[in-house]
């Protein structure tokens, strides 16, 4: 009998220990990953920006946008063809062009973009028209208690209560990341609600409709909370 044969069946259960070790590592990563990720991102972001090889960008540092679109392809709207309709239970319905929106007073601030699944892009620069300003100009009727957002992707909708819509951190964003909102980020005009999860910030915004009650949006009909306020 070959000398290796009996030992082949014996030996330490290294395989099982490896599996258990990976599970422990995964568990520790779930609990502490947010903290590690912040450190890594802070450490590597300056390098990533100057990295000529682009290799650092291949690592999942978790601090970049993931591009969500619920339809196949979204039509492009230019500065000339873009229109935003404010309608529904209002005294003064209106349609804004991009130039109209640019001419209104703008709010600027820096805030994270937080997805409900966990990923976060820290310190994004935002600029746009406060939603409360557009609502004031439209003069909602007393029956209006909620706002419904429409997207020109043809499928996406979202909603907020009228109270939420009046928060000062809810804007009709014309700029993000220090430049006009690009098409892939939902441009030329998208919503941004700083205190709510990303699914509330409708991309490719085409309509703001005042309604009696909050109508569940695209992801809300698929299980997400209608109240999208970020909770720890």
């Amino acid at each position: 009998m070959p000398p290796d044969e009996p030992r082949e069946r014996a030996g330490a259960p290294v395989g099982r220990r490896t599996v258990v070790g990976l599970l422990a590592l995964g568990g520790a990563g779930v609990v502490g990953g947010s903290w590690v990720q912040n450190g890594l991102a802070r450490l590597l972001a300056p390098l990533e920006n100057r990295d000529p090889t682009g290799l650092i960008a291949l690592f999942p540092l978790g601090d970049t946008f993931r591009f969500y679109s619920v339809t196949g392809s979204v039509p492009t709207r230019t500065a000339a063809s873009y229109r935003l309709a404010v309608s529904g239970l209002v005294t003064r319905p209106a349609t804004y062009t991009l130039a109209d929106l640019q001419a209104l007073p703008q709010t600027r601030f820096v805030h994270d973009f937080q997805c409900v699944t966990g990923w976060r892009v820290p310190d994004v620069h935002w600029a746009g028209v406060p939603l409360s300003l557009l609502l004031r100009r439209a003069e909602p009727s007393p029956a209006a208690r909620a706002v419904r957002f429409h997207s020109f992707d043809g499928a996406y909708t979202e909603s907020m209560t009228l109270d939420e819509a009046h928060r000062s951190d809810v804007i009709v964003a014309l700029q993000m990341l220090g430049a006009p909102v690009t098409h892939d980020h939902g441009g030329p005009v998208r919503m941004y609600a700083a205190s709510m999860y990303g699914y509330k910030s409708t991309k490719w915004l085409s309509g703001i409709e005042l309604t009696r009650d909050a109508v569940p949006g695209y992801w809300e009909r698929r299980g997400y909370d209608i109240d999208g306020t970020i909770k720890d």
Partner: protein, 213 residues
Amino acid sequence: MSPPADAGPQARRRFSRAERAVHWSVTMLMTVCILTAAILYNEPLAILVGHRRAVELVHVYAGFALPLPLLLGVASIAYRADLRRLNRFTSSDWRWLRSRRRRDGTIRVGKFNAGQKVNASLTAGSIFVLLGTGLLMFFPHLARLSWRTGATFVHDWFALGLGLLVLGHIAYALKDPEARRGMRLGEVSDEWARAEHPAWADELDAEQDPNAA
């Protein structure tokens, strides 16, 4: 006029039908997971394909199903025997991992070499970590926000690691047609068994003819 079983090149039974069924089911589900993961994660692909909800559902359900063949396989005796072999590391396994001459046959390898054992446990562990973190991301009510951020972080890095393991696994398979035949048909040549897994070939001889040992 068939030759006696012990004469000339003979087919060696390497993997049972159940084991191959597990392997190829996992292959199918893993392929779906990797392709959909690429669409969900890679910016140009995500923009090109869109349909986030549909892609996500395919990814998530393929991911939920992925561990099932691994668990169902336990019903098979041959599968359980190979799990035991993959689990146990002997002193010659550690020597094999450290040695530069691991491929020249001086260290007599059993049914699985130490590299295959390492790959098996890393792959199995990663699949279960990806399942757990995937659940936390898919059902946001299960955990608080910072844990979901942690789950996303872990899911990303383990996916990267598992992707590299799968690439390595395929690269080794591409180099070895006989090993592929073993997983496709269940049989390998005696010559290959003696060259790549001599201690295993001896074991099979001993089982067939106890007096030969």
